[in-house]
Amino acid sequence: MDKFPIEKGTLLLRPGRVFDPRVNLDRVADLLIVDGKIAKIGPKAGEGFEGEVVNLPGAVIVPGFFDMHVHLREPGREDEETIESGCLSAAAGGFTEIACMPNTQPPIDERSRVEFVLDRAKNQLVTVHPIAAVTKGQQGEELTEMADLIEAGAVAFSDDGRPIDRAVVLRRALEYLKMFCRPLISHCEDLSLSEGGMMNEGVVSAVLGFQGIPPLSEESGVVRDLLITEYTGGVIHIAHVSTARAVRWIREAKARGVKVTAETCPHYLVLTEEAVRSFDPNTKMNPPLRTESDSKALWEALNDGTLDVLATDHAPHSDEEKDMEFQSAPFGIIGLETAVGILLTYGVHQGRMKLNELVYRMAIAPRKILGIPENLIQEGAKANLTFLQLDLEWQVDKNRFFSKSRNTPFHDWKLKGAPIGVYNNKKLFLHPMFLNKGGNRH
């Protein structure tokens, strides 16, 4: 078996279909890639080409997916995920670019640490964009050197994992960031309302006796942040939205012109608090799994554009930490290698979302929000592509993940539709699990 991914500057891709709604591209065509760039698109793109041909019968080639909410654990917890393993995991999940959160140990709060991440990621297929901390040490007090961090390569700022507790600090951060047109990504939570909570406050917590994390704690954080954003004229992106009322407040703020974008994650769409009855620590994350009506509101918000982005909040934890009694296990699950399959199955195939919306939320919107160049599928552009096999039926097997961690609630799930490979930075990755199931090289 080949080492993953493989260097392949020049090759011919022969899928079933090429799809990029931005350039009105949706047709049966081959893609000739020369030196990492798209040289030709068309049924005869490979005429006269004598190099390597990758046959992807039945597959759709779409713009490379971008996950703007990933936790890599390097530096600090390399046993859970390194930058390299995180990149492989992303590629295996169909992503060509990711933005990584700064809550490493130490956190990404100064220039040298941004440079460290970029240096570690420089030869990867997956392009890594560091998000830097809003405050030094993510302590919620002093602002980081944002100009310096941006110059080093930071694409956004976040203290994710924790909210910025003091309103005045958020205000100053949003005001300061206006100079650079970079978004602040906010983890909205009122800690005084959620402290000690283990799962959503609702009927299941009432029965199980767990202390609840009320939806109110997220919503009051969202409302406060929207007020401060509106007042300052700043730009905010709300991470991992999980409740119906949070959606309503964001929708209302957008209508009034507040510069807000927002994301949700696959697990909030397909799981509810009911899953916690299993006491499986892989159903424990923050914000917690909510209710059926929240999930429904999230799907609607994706349809009407209130939610701009689908991100994973990929949060690796070792078995040593996670495989224990629910209350002692840390919050968070991994998601890079299941997100696309889940969204194709429950979104596209079950009629909740069209393929072009999925492409918009996973490839186009994140790049817009973070100010990263578009990856158009057109001749002359850099080849940055995801290969989807829409009808492929497969079963999630956490033991075959490329991530170093296994903390997923989706083990054994049967899905329809898979990311079978990606291409970026002159590198090709074909997922070994799906080889000979719609993707093979000659």
Binding site: G202, A206, V207, G209, G212, F279, D323, E325, F326, Q327
Partner: protein, 315 residues
């Protein structure tokens, strides 16, 4: 008739026939406790580990006594006397117990779901002796045994649970068990100590203790913990007693026959006055005695599951 599982993790989802089986078995085992030599050989050769990760006197003694009455070999620890202090995880403790061929494990732990966790990684029978604020099934079983002893049946009994419902594993197990047995259950306590979405439990809420006293006949008084006040959930013990205490004044004003239960330990003069706790209406000490019988029944039924009975339970 047998229990459906090898474990007793909670009363949620347990069938009426199963609860009846446990209560009937407990009734038949109880006379053993009054014999000159109160011991039967039922579980001879079996080993039971008692893991108490939280301080407990009553429940631990009750389990140990039940085990000894059935002639099981027992090993016990409570926090502070074992490798818990050395940072050993629950999973490793479980694996060690499995390696030592323990037949049953009784566990009290501060984590919700701890007993379920253990049951998933152990072949032995697991008995939940209280998991955080979730369930305490043997307590509810002994409460039901005690109520049934007095009234003959649980069907149609009106039971009120008074106090900190949100944090009470005793309340949760009793609610599930009593409802399954056909009793009507209501709860009463400060609104900050009732769980949100309490209606999910299918019970009524008495806004004032007077409403409960008016309507119900059996009262389970819960221990109020001072730490809840420190967390700001209610202003003072004084005010708690004034609003929800089973005081002698309220007790004396009653014109009907009632029954008072309390899982212990009692805060005399706070949630219940001594005059009430020590009155003829109180069955608090019957609860303690029945606790041993109920735990004997549970151990016997779980540990003899799938095996041919060598001897009848009553020796």
């Amino acid at each position: 008739m047998e229990l459906r599982t090898r474990h007793l993790l909670g009363l949620e989802g347990m069938k009426k026939e199963e609860i009846l089986l446990i209560l009937d078995t407990a009734d038949s085992l109880k006379p053993i406790l009054d014999r000159p030599i109160p011991k039967v050989p039922t579980l001879r050769g079996k080993t039971i580990a008692n893991l108490f990760y939280e301080p407990s006197t009553r429940t631990r003694f009750s389990f140990e006594l039940a085990e000894k009455r059935l002639s099981a070999d027992t090993i016990s620890f409570s926090t502070g006397s074992s490798s818990v202090m050395k940072g050993e995880t629950l999973k490793d403790t479980a694996k060690n117990l499995a390696a030592m061929k323990v037949d049953a494990v009784v566990i009290r732990h501060s984590s919700v779901g701890a007993a379920h966790f253990l049951a998933n990684c152990l072949d032995a029978c697991v008995i939940n002796a209280g998991d955080g604020t979730h369930e305490h099934p043997t307590q509810a079983l002994l409460d039901m045994m005690t109520i049934r002893e007095k009234y003959g049946t649980l069907e149609g009994r009106k039971v009120a649970i008074i106090g900190d419902i949100a944090h009470s594993r005793v309340a949760r197990s009793n609610i599930h068990g009593l409802k399954t047995m056909g009793a009507e259950v209501g709860v009463c306590g400060p609104t900050t100590l009732l769980p949100m979405y309490i209606e999910a439990l299918g019970i009524q809420v008495y806004p004032r203790i007077e409403d409960a006293l008016e309507d119900a006949e059996v009262f389970i008084i819960l221990r109020i913990q001072l730490e809840r006040q420190k967390k700001g959930l209610f202003p003072s013990l004084r005010e708690y007693r004034a609003l929800f205490g089973m005081t002698k004044e309220r007790f004396r004003a009653l014109k009907k026959d009632i029954t008072i239960l309390h899982p212990g330990p009692i805060n005399r003069g706070i949630e219940i006055d001594s005059e009430v706790a020590d009155s003829s209406k109180s069955v608090i000490l019957d609860q303690v005695k029945n606790g041993v019988a109920v735990r004997m029944a549970v151990l016997y039924l779980l540990m003899s599951k799938g095996q041919k009975m060598e001897r009848k339970g009553d020796g």
